[in-house]
Amino acid sequence: MYDPKVIADIARAQAAYESRVREILAEAGVPAASTQSGLPLKTLYTPADVGDLDYRRDLGFPGELPFTRGVQPTGYQTKEWTRRQVVGLGTAEETNARLRYLMSQGQTGFSVCGMGYANYDSDSEHALGFVGRGGVWIDTLADIETLLDGIDMRAVTVNQIGSSIPVFAMILAVAEARGIAPGELRGTIQNWAEPGGEGPARRGNGSVDILEYCARHMPRWNSASVSVRNTRDQGCTAPQEVAFGCFLGAYSLAAAVGRGLDAERVAARLSFFLSAENDFLEEVAKYRAMRRLWARLVRERFGVTDSRSCALRFHVQTSAINLSRQQPLNNIVRSALHALAAALGGAQSMSVNSFDEVLATPTRAAATLSLRTQQIIAFESGVTRVVDPLGGSFCVEALTGQIEEAAASLLGKLEALPDRDAFDFMEELTRDEAYRRQQAIDRGHVKVVGVNCFTDWPDDDTDQPRIEPLRYDPGWRDKQIRRLEDARRRRDPARASLALVRLEGAYRARENIVSPMIEAVKAYLSIGEIARAREAALSESFRPTTWNFGR
């Protein structure tokens, strides 16, 4: 990118500058700086730090390989990121009302949490105390009908959080009832392949079933939103987030190929779900590094030739681990910075956490403020007018390279391990980092405003705005049980038992489970009934993994 002679000259001058800086810092007792993730940081970056970059090879143009600068040629000029605040409270009625309100305020995407996480019905002992608290509660198709009531599934893309196949089937059943063919439907399901299933086809592996069903019937639907956002929120570092995401993405792609699917076609519909944390420059660099690493991986490993299938598209939900219960209004500022990093990093879709989310499910006003945060960044800050405006910064380019290198090296380690061990290793690394994070906060090495520094807050109520978190309504459970009983009463018992027998047979035969599941949910079988049928057919108790619920 630069004339080697010029670089050599800058490097000489930089060496002199750096030795002066070292002296000053040593005298002042300032320790060496690093990013939040522990990557070494310099005081200043120059062209000499990025002298080996080849512009066309390493950066290129937005919409072109290796997509470092973005996946759309025009960035946000022609396609804004989707405003996709995550919603989920009470029964489908409360969540639908909240969604419709947010949509009336400018929300453009559907994203609901809690759907089918539990694998028990609302009238079960397992549901007592849970219904509607950690997201919406879903028992039967009747709930998804209510959830999507008044929402145009042709105009709004649906994001399914969690990978519940019954819920996925319910979404497809509602679309079918509205005359929308699976091939027309646009949306995303949180999914990635996990170990399991026999042989290369991995029969009986629900995550691969989803990939297969989508690849065959739903060309406009993202068959896997590979979520590493929650892993990041559980503690891991930025390079680990990139490495884990690429590992899971490649693992899913390989599983799909093993099922006999076309890599190019599946890759075109893989998407990612990432976090946005405190270290602003590192986060922006992270998105850029991941786009570059992923594009090269898909092209080189899977021989994908259509460059669009190599483009890393991602949704961002801003960090929760960085928000504080203390002085909760500070979280508004934190989340805005997180969201700004995601915008500068070229996110396709976004959900900004609400300031009161550390206290309870957000109130409607707090959720609206999160939406406004997105709108202010999009319409007022001006950062959306230029694609990848931080690209070319010596620092951001150097960090992008550092993150890519660290992630590629970890990815190599993960891929050298047997499947199950690799998944366990990711969990182990994440827990180690979570522990280190808390230790660093306890020791004051990492400052958290309002938590371990600047902790004074006026006691006088008149000095601070009132914060009233949403209160959990235990009546939601009673209401949900009534909804469940009503659905059971109204369904055709013969059709329900036939669908149940058919479903059990499909589980036993290890068929792709999606089609029989659609029939099961259309017969208004409940998620609890479906889960018990699965347990009976497979003779194993259902154990949800932390982030792949309900498969």
Partner: protein, 134 residues
């Protein structure tokens, strides 16, 4: 001291695992019970001879779960095992948890040292209660 650490669900379990490690580092023996129903927690606490129960509650309503746990412990004759709650507990639930006999609640922002000290104090108080019983 032997602590049974349990949680209400498997999701968002960072705090659960981090606290488990912090307690172990502080020299406290930790039995990881995982995600259990309140009645299962009471049974396991008895089987393991726990000196205290640490209950991480994230997804469910704390007062509802703790009331069920208190009932199950009482039914099993284990009401003297102190219960410590960790997680996001609404302000309005703090009084209810105290009334249900919860010894201590740790919310986001608690340090490792505070949590380990809290368990030790709770364990010591329970031991002295037992010693003073006729």
């Amino acid at each position: 001291m032997r602590v049974l650490l349990v949680q209400d669900s498997t999701g968002h379990s960072t705090g659960y695992h981090v606290v488990a490690r912090a307690l172990r580092d502080a020299g406290i023996e930790v039995v990881l019970g995982g995600a259990l129903l309140p009645r299962e927690i009471a049974r396991l606490a008895g089987e393991e001879g726990a000196d205290a129960i640490g209950y991480r509650i994230m997804d469910a309503a704390p007062a509802i779960l703790v009331a069920r746990l208190a009932e199950a412990l009482a039914a099993a004759g284990l009401a003297d095992i102190p219960v410590v709650v960790g997680g996001i507990v609404p302000q309005e639930d703090l009084g209810r948890l105290a009334a249900l006999g919860v010894a201590c609640v740790f919310q986001p922002g608690a340090t490792f040292a505070q949590i380990a000290d809290g368990f030790r104090e709770v364990g010591a108080a329970a031991a002295s209660r037992r010693a003073s019983m006729p």
